[in-house]
Symmetry: C2
DNA sequence: TTTGTATAGATGTATAGACAAGTTGGAGGC
DNA sequence: GCCTCCAACTTGTCTATACATCTATACAAA
């Protein structure tokens, strides 16, 4: 199976073989791959060479490993839609899946240099920080950190408990109708907190989306950073639609 | 420097040390890191362990390696702006850099199942494919593959040579005013063609953007896939602005 | 029934050595 | 002066071995 004369590295050949097997659907999502030792025997390669090959598949998000258990085939990507008005819940329901969310933490900090610029406030002003973990079919999917001015929304923290319709809350209690103004997309690798919360390995690249929302008068409402598992989703932007 | 009793893997400790040194700016972009053997001597680690550590930095796009030469610190990310009307050239000029482009190839294919759906044409219809490589400061930056209906733009291929203002061309010759309607963002790993064209290693994740543009009557104009180097840029979306 | 222990098997980490292949610069020949 | 070629140095690949750590299971002990 492995050609040792054609100049192509053994681990790359094995990567290719495994990728083809997965893409042909020989293994279903969630099913276990052959163990490293099995593969090393079958293809007459050293276990480390096999590990190099599987590392590539991990990089591409095709498989994931669990220490002590084995290597498993990953699932397909979920398409997540974003527009001026986006709700996580409806966006996930639209694609026939089961959304859920948990408020991990809410606290206050001083704005500081960076945030004061983003939120257009003084750097000594207080900022409310909300950390929300969202799930799709019980699996951690993305992690959002929201920043809002405490001056504008003084009682927000006590209001939010239980409810995650942040924009609904802002409208109801403050009469603020927030609209997404811009989003910045970036590839980033997970920090250790991301790895814990989303239960991923350091090798899974993340899609980081930084968004700015304003009210209808153009006043800053929210600056938020959402980190998606790059292996689990793509994110679509609609330049016209109102979304919902 | 390396603590061998605290349960943290040596290669992770070394990764952390190197990341901090880079982020503090001890090494400037483009400068060479210590060689693997130097690091292994300095920190009393095996060369393979050092390689594991550097692999992490490579994953995060902090460094890049050149076989036979060494390991080098990568540059900061460029912010690339996208809106309804986006021109690569002006977007790059806006951030004070020097844009350039090259038409790699132009050819025709039958639409087939996938493309016919995207472009809203028959699967037997002909499709014009344009492959464009774009540069920033002489460095390959992104690779765009555009798909347009040949029925709508029959002579496009002969018109395009030399000029890369595709939308300008469409307006001038066909009276079509194209607007971006939606974009889908996704993390993907480079294929071998990407690695060749953008001159990157298989470890650099890419930001893939699939965009749909329509004319003002809502007719499909273009479906295109742009792959950015994830280590070189972030992409911003403006939900309102006309851009330019 | 519950708890603890032992074991096998899986991935994770670290070390050692060897050779391949690309890059560079200098010695030596012209 | 110019060129070729070789040696030294770099990263890339492969093998071999050892032990750590986590999971699952089986079985004994409380």
């Amino acid at each position: 199976m492995i050609n040792r004369e054609n100049g192509v590295a053994c681990y790359q050949q094995l990567s290719q073989i495994l990728i083809e097997q997965i893409e042909k659907g020989i293994f279903k999502p969630g099913s276990q791959l052959a163990t490293e030792i099995e593969l090393s025997k079958r293809y007459r390669l050293n276990r480390h060479t096999v590990r190099q090959a599987i590392e590539r598949l991990e990089d591409e998000g095709l498989v994931y490993k669990i220490k002590g258990k084995g290597t498993f085939v990953a699932s397909d990507k979920i398409n997540y839609k974003v527009s001026k008005r986006t709700s996580f819940t409806t966006s996930i329901l639209d694609v026939g899946l089961n959304p859920d969310a948990r408020l991990l933490d809410s606290y206050e900090i001083a704005a500081g240099k960076e945030l004061s610029k983003r939120l257009n406030i003084q750097s000594s002003d207080r900022v409310i920080v909300l950390e929300i973990l969202r799930f799709v079919n019980k699996t951690p999917f993305c992690h959002t950190t929201s920043f809002l001015s405490k001056t504008k929304f003084p009682e927000l923290r006590s209001l939010i408990s239980g409810s995650f319709s942040l924009f609904g809350l802002l409208k109801k209690h403050y009469g603020v109708d927030a609209l997404r103004k811009s989003s910045t997309f970036e590839v980033s690798m997970p920090e250790s907190s991301d790895m814990d919360m989303l239960n991923i390995s350091p090798k899974v690249p993340m899609l980081a989306v930084k968004s700015i929302s304003k009210d209808q008068k153009g006043g800053m409402v929210e600056y938020c950073i959402t980190k998606f598992r790059g292996d689990m989703c793509s994110v679509s932007v609609d330049f016209n639609g109102e979304g919902r």
